[in-house]
């Protein structure tokens, strides 16, 4: 299989967007999914449990040094940056906020691009700032495939528009078409 990881960045409107996107993935989905969702620092992890119940695929908060496995969706813990090491494990950091955010989408995307190169899919969804735009550009530069939520269908269009403005993206699609595409790409060689 061509793709070894999918990274998703999402901000305001994100929980609703993920509730549309993730339940469409089957339990056997062969590409690990790694998500940065901007949330208030004290949001707790109830929403992850809730999302996990609504999905076939397993969803959990990413742990430091954890090995990235298929059949899993990993969420960056609140108030930590999530990075990917070259041995395909996670690192966490409490370094300064990037784009006013911790976790920052750019931080995840940049380290993922360097680890997975052309075997990576990067996705930017709804959000009110420009985090993720630089990271998505980097994914493209490293030969990865990029997808942005169609801004006209996003709850907040600023983040998708910023990503599209910064570099050419491969697909601009509404949420339900993104999950269809991911299922197609899963088996691409």
């Amino acid at each position: 299989m061509k793709f070894k990881a999918i990274v998703i960045g999402v901000s305001s409107g994100g929980i609703t967007a993920l509730k549309t996107l993730l339940p469409a993935l089957p339990a056997t989905f062969g590409i690990p999914v790694i998500i940065v969702q901007h949330l208030a620092f004290n949001s707790g992890d109830y929403w992850i449990e809730h999302l996990n119940e609504a999905c076939e695929i397993n969803i959990k908060e990413a742990d430091e040094k954890e090995k990235i496995e298929k059949g899993m969706v990993y969420i960056a813990p609140p108030n930590y940056h999530l990075l990917i090491e070259t041995d395909q494990t996670f690192s966490l950091s409490i370094d300064e906020k990037v784009n006013h955010a911790r976790p920052s989408i750019d931080v995840l995307f940049e380290s993922a691009a360097e680890t997975f190169n052309q075997h990576l899919i990067g996705i930017v969804l709804t959000g009110l700032n420009n985090d993720g735009a630089l990271g998505l550009k980097k994914i493209k530069e490293y030969g990865g495939t990029t997808i942005v939520q169609d801004p006209s269908t996003a709850e907040s269009d600023i983040m998708p528009l910023s990503a599209i403005a910064l570099s050419p993206v491969d697909y601009i699609l509404p949420l339900n078409k993104i999950s269809d595409l991911l299922i197609q790409l899963e088996h691409q060689l």
Binding site: P77, L83, T86, I94, D95, V107, S111, E141
Partner: protein, 277 residues
């Protein structure tokens, strides 16, 4: 592909730079998480207008001021007062009652950086009536961070966040009782500043310096690789008395260390462990 070759070269250059920093200055970042180190070195590279990691190394060899900046970049961790208020609440409600049974208490804050959490601890002890019978050792290997910690200044713009954290951590007074502020800066009260013993100690290369009742080391170990984490956990184990308390960061655990069986999970969710008798 071009980009991918660049990355391989860069990784080699980073290893060479870290070797040089260790050989020439004794600071050992070779067992730190790579993705994190790479990010910090690249930030310095961009800030200083340098083109490559090897240019960073060259400059570090010629320019002492630059090396000092680079070492700061690699070693400072960002912290705040009462970070994770639920943790401090658990400390107050569950751990303080144990400490109250001791006639004299020693606390080690390992990797204290600029001191915000050590001050939070001092405030907590004051409110719980343990201030006078406690010694707090706050250590870091970054002398610049320690000097700042000792001065006890923080920016006025942080007061709002810190007050909110303090209140959610079940603070008993008004947070403003603990500092004096002008239009720009705030400074911690003299009594709090004098309470803490600030000392230079390197978790990577130094050893046990006292037997303590409680160790606080939060969000430091996440920057280390598994081998180094294991080594530091051994140091903590050897420094704690029986029944001693170990406090880690929200996303840290004893998962990768040989001594994990020697502790009980005292407050699982808040990552507070108790050394077995």
């Amino acid at each position: 592909m071009n980009k991918i070759t660049t990355i391989k070269t860069e990784e080699r250059e980073i290893r060479s730079l870290l070797d040089a920093l260790y050989q020439n200055y004794g600071y050992d970042f070779r067992q730190y998480s790579e993705a994190h180190i790479k990010r910090r070195i690249r930030n310095r590279m961009t800030l200083s207008g340098l083109e490559s990691i090897s240019a960073v190394q060259q400059k570090a060899e010629q320019d002492k001021t630059f090396t000092s900046l680079l070492l700061q970049d690699l070693s400072i961790t960002v912290t705040e007062m009462f970070r994770d208020s639920n943790f401090f609440k658990a400390l107050r409600e569950k751990v303080i009652p144990i400490l109250k049974t001791y006639s004299f208490i020693k606390i080690w804050h390992a990797g204290c950086s600029t001191g915000e959490e050590a001050y939070s601890m001092a405030i907590l002890l004051k409110e719980e009536g343990l201030f006078d019978r406690t010694t707090i050792y706050a250590t870091d290997f970054n002398q610049h961070a320690l000097d700042r910690a000792k001065e006890g200044f923080f920016s006025n713009s942080l007061i709002k966040d810190y007050t909110r954290n303090y209140q959610s951590a079940a603070g008993k007074e008004s947070f403003s009782n603990y500092y004096t502020a002008d239009h720009k800066m705030a400074i911690m009260n003299q009594a709090l500043r004098d309470k803490i013993v600030w000392a230079n100690h390197n978790l990577v290369t130094d050893s046990v310096f006292a037997e303590v009742n409680l160790i606080l080391c939060r969000n430091v170990l996440i920057y280390f690789n598994k081998e180094l984490q294991n080594k530091v956990h051994r140091l903590f184990f050897d420094s704690l008395g029986n029944g001693g308390i170990l406090c880690l960061g929200a996303k840290e655990s004893l998962r990768f260390c040989d001594v994990s069986g020697e502790y009980t999970e005292f407050e699982k969710k808040q990552k507070i462990y108790k050394k077995k008798y």
